[in-house]
Subunit: 578 residues, 2 copies
């Protein structure tokens, strides 16, 4: 990981690439690296779909090593959805493979002629860029099938579906999983649209002949990894809850807590949520011969995913995440797991962020385009997106655009990005993260749900403003650091609660790189990432006034707690005062 692959998609005579030494960007990975490159190299007022934006794809610091859980890959750019900086990360195989190929990052630059579409192939012999005209208009599943036929089942793909080709702001970038299915998505902020604007349909990564990345101190590294794995296995969330039921274990929990956004954020509980809960989902998966416990990349030991088969026992999709089940489910008053799984499959195939799409369908339902609860209508709306009809193009550009086009007032977005599956009135800490995150509304940016609801990392009353700023601040700093390691964010449950597990992570990094970092260095890294991102956003015109929730969260009381968002603007402005 000592080189950066830069591909100029706008070069005369077709794309040209070069390999640069990491140089100034040495020693950072994942989000730290994508945000550093974007912040330094992308003009903040450039058009997100224009030649001056860059798409940076970076494995984490520990990706490609034997460290458990190190398979996240970061995608960074100026976001067409928020207008600010964006890092969205995904699991799957790409991160490990790209890291083993020796790249700290791929940077897609420039812009080809309209309509030009390319495949980038990277293996031990180097880089090849070919026309991908034959892939035009393909969904991710069909595309990956074609790649499989050409390159076998051991490669990893980074690709876009129709949504990315059409440069929609809800377009994701798909990464293939261990079964080489395009189920792992860097979902948020329209990163897929930026890849589409660069004319890259798919990046095929083949690490045959490459070795696992070697630590500087193999013994120390191995020992630390052992403590690490033990720590993850012994924590109830990473060792029991997530393996058994996946993220969807939260459906009952959050609805019970009165913070489950239902009917486009009108209510805090969903009456029939048990029909779509993780428990029901796992039961269904097992009953049909699928799987309720499955990893998305080599080296995953939490195995929070699963395989969802349809009623006839045929593969339909990977186990939909809690946020997906919420977005396409409770948020739209839909309590049909099969319909939700179909929507998940459509989103993955078209290359769409499930959170953005579910929120968008909710807004469309509020606009009267379909009835709340009508699963078939929801499926048809998402199909419009894949077809690229006028309606589909509206929806595919997300909740904010859909709200604007149909004159809807209740649109749950911050900085143009849809809120995930936690109502900020019922979980005030996550509201602070939604409001202030550099990314727009994003639960992963500082998952206060852990401490507000799950009792992880302490306890802070979810319904009171007290303590939420500090909680969100600390979580945002920690997350920015974790997102830079290549580690799956779910490690945070164990890391927050178990000091020895946190230490094991630091020990692994130190042993791998021959460093002697401390916890303070990790905090400093997180702060520096956020500082880079805040700086870019300020130069892009985002201000304190953009660090606010939409008006209706301050006006409408959420049942059953009948509470509005209580954290004051002046407090929100303190999140980054450290």
């Amino acid at each position: 990981m000592d080189k950066i692959l830069r591909i100029d998609m706008g070069a005369g005579g077709g794309p040209k690439f070069r390999e640069d030494p990491v140089g100034d960007y040495a020693g950072i990975g994942g989000r730290a690296l994508t945000s550093a490159i974007v912040s330094k190299e992308v003009p903040p007022l450039c058009h997100p779909l224009g030649e001056n934006n860059k798409l940076v794809i970076a494995p984490g610091l520990l990706s490609g090593t034997a460290a458990a859980m190190s398979g996240r890959i970061s995608m960074g750019c100026k976001s067409p959805l928020t207008g600010g900086i964006k890092e969205a990360n995904a699991g799957g195989q790409a991160s490990q493979v790209l890291a083993r190929l020796g790249y700290a990052a791929i940077v897609l630059e420039g812009k080809p002629a309209d309509g030009a579409l390319y495949k980038v192939m990277i293996n031990k012999d180097g880089v090849k860029i070919e026309s991908a005209d034959e892939f035009k208009g393909l969904g991710n599943y069909d595309l990956v099938d074609k790649i499989k036929a050409a390159h076998g089942e051991k490669v990893a793909c980074i690709s876009i579906g129709q949504a990315g080709e059409m440069k929609m702001s809800a377009a994701s970038i798909a990464c293939t999983d261990m079964e080489m299915r395009p189920t792992r998505h860097a979902g948020r902020g329209g990163v897929g649209a930026v890849m589409g604007s660069k004319g890259v349909k798919v990046i095929v990564l083949d690490d045959s002949g490459m070795k696992m990345r070697a630590p500087k101190d193999p013994d120390k590294f191995k020992a630390a990894n052992k403590v690490w794995v033990e720590g993850l296995r012994k924590h109830p969330v990473t060792g029991e809850g997530l393996p058994a039921y996946g993220t969807n274990v939260l459906t009952n929990v959050i609805s019970e807590a009165g913070a489950y956004p239902t009917k486009n954020f009108m209510w805090g509980s969903f009456e029939t949520c048990n029909k779509i809960s993780g428990e029901t989902q796992a039961e269904t998966e097992i009953e049909r011969g699928g799987s309720a416990t499955h990893g998305c990349h080599r080296g995953c030991i939490i195995r929070c995913s699963g395989i969802y088969l349809d009623k006839d026992g045929a593969y339909l999709t990977k186990q939909p995440e809690y946020e997906t089940v919420w977005a396409h489910g409770g948020n739209c008053c839909i309590d049909d797991l099969d319909a939700i799984a179909q929507l998940d499959r459509l989103d993955d195939d078209f290359g769409l962020d499930t959170i953005e799409m579910g929120a968008t369908i909710g807004v469309a339902m509020e606009a009267g385009l379909a009835e709340f609860g009508d699963a078939e209508a929801a499926i048809n709306l998402v199909k419009e997106v894949g077809k690229g009809t006028h309606l589909g193009r509206i929806l595919g550009n997300g909740a904010a655009v859909t709200g604007k086009v149909f004159g809807v007032e209740r649109v749950p977005v911050v900085k143009g990005q849809a809120m995930p599956a936690y109502d900020p009135r019922g979980i005030q800490g996550i509201g602070v993260t939604y409001a202030t995150s550099t990314m727009g509304a994003d639960h992963t940016a500082g998952y206060a749900v852990a401490t507000n609801i799950l009792g992880v990392g302490g306890n802070v009353d979810p319904l009171k403003p007290e303590g939420q700023i500090e909680l969100s601040r600390n979580l945002q700093i920690a997350t920015a650091a974790v997102d830079s390691t290549g580690m799956c964010l779910f490690i945070a449950f164990a890391v927050l609660d178990q000091p020895d597990t946190f230490q094991a992570l630091i020990d692994m990094i130190n042993a791998f790189y021959g460093l002697s970092l401390t916890a303070d260095d990790v905090t400093a890294l997180g702060k520096s990432v956020l500082t880079n991102e805040r700086d870019f956003n300020a130069r892009a015109g985002l201000t304190a006034e953009h660090d606010r929730l939409p008006e209706f969260f301050l006006k409408e009381k959420l049942p059953p707690h009948n509470i509005t968002f209580q954290v004051k603007d002046e407090e929100l402005d303190q999140v980054f005062n450290w």
Copy 2:
């Protein structure tokens, strides 16, 4: 004009109104008043279509008096198009009539239940608010016909068409002219959507039984008005050019200057512009028995408008303005006057800003929805807006949304509002106004074209950055003041060139109100209006980064001068440093 009519559209049991004394808002009118009320009373982060926005309708200081040219009425609110403060003003009869009814302003507040639609009737006996369900879905022309049938031809209407009812961001508010046709529009920034969100279809104003407003010093006022009229008559622009050919006299001039945005701002001259020039337009109008010289309100002596008949001699529309002819014409490579007149009629009927719509069609053509130059396709696209199809809703929300939905990079907007008929590369002074105006891209906010091209108010080279900041600054200050008087902005040509005409305007205000204002006071007024507006915008999250032209004006050289926009960001930031 000593009272403000406030109508709470969201009151329980239907709209309720009250009349307040002007109080703190005494002594200002037009834009000064709308911007003061909006800045003071509207929460800057409220949803523009929500209950907390207000629509303020205010005649100017001299409206309703015998002063020539005093028929402009201002509409102010938080803009759904720009997210910032908005004042859009219109001619027609409404301003004079509302002023004679004694109102300094009407303020529409709150928000009725979805789908509720009202008519507001104001006459000497007071205010009546009735359901207007029977008007639902009517265009402005049909609506006004019904009002005519019910209330006769002497009332004035302020109304919205289908676009306003659908709360589209390009929706205008129509005011009827002397023939009681809905041809005078407060076009910009989506003020019609805000009126639609308030559930007000039409305000009918009847000043029967009311008197002309009486000056404190009638003799001085009369004398000043005489000098005023003489001044306007003797200036070549207001006395000759505008009366003979209307604003469209500019088509040949601006194309010749290489600053006529053609094919969605790709070129600076339009080869066949003579086919749609003011000269050709006037000839056509006269030939068909229409009129090439016509006033839009009682008291207009410039008479820059006209009556455009179709080929069969039937009334089609008022004489389309230069900006309309450009937007629907050269900008889309359309050189067919009849088609442009039809588009003007459709816009007026649906209640749409012609500038925004023309720019939007240009972007749609760039997206491939129609061929540049295809007039029939353009007409069909605008018809979609009236029908409210999905495509129509996209287009009706303006150029920025259309660009976003279709992934177009070249979108000529500032703060979300489309640029008018002058390329900022060919007329750099107007570029400074576009970039920095509180209103989004708006030529009327500081018409540097006068000095860059027409030699009015001095001469500043249009192709050089030097002098443009000071020019735009002074014009923006002067315009903010003029917009507060109720005066038509076209008086500025004479006022800028003839000190005695400027003095006559001040003398009229002084004689009318018993004041002793000086030119410095006028400047102070303009500055205070801009300060209010800038303050609102800052609190709404608009920053220096929003005072910029889109990237492509800095990258693409405009033929024939082959020049980019030359004014530096740091200079733009000096516009409001006075």
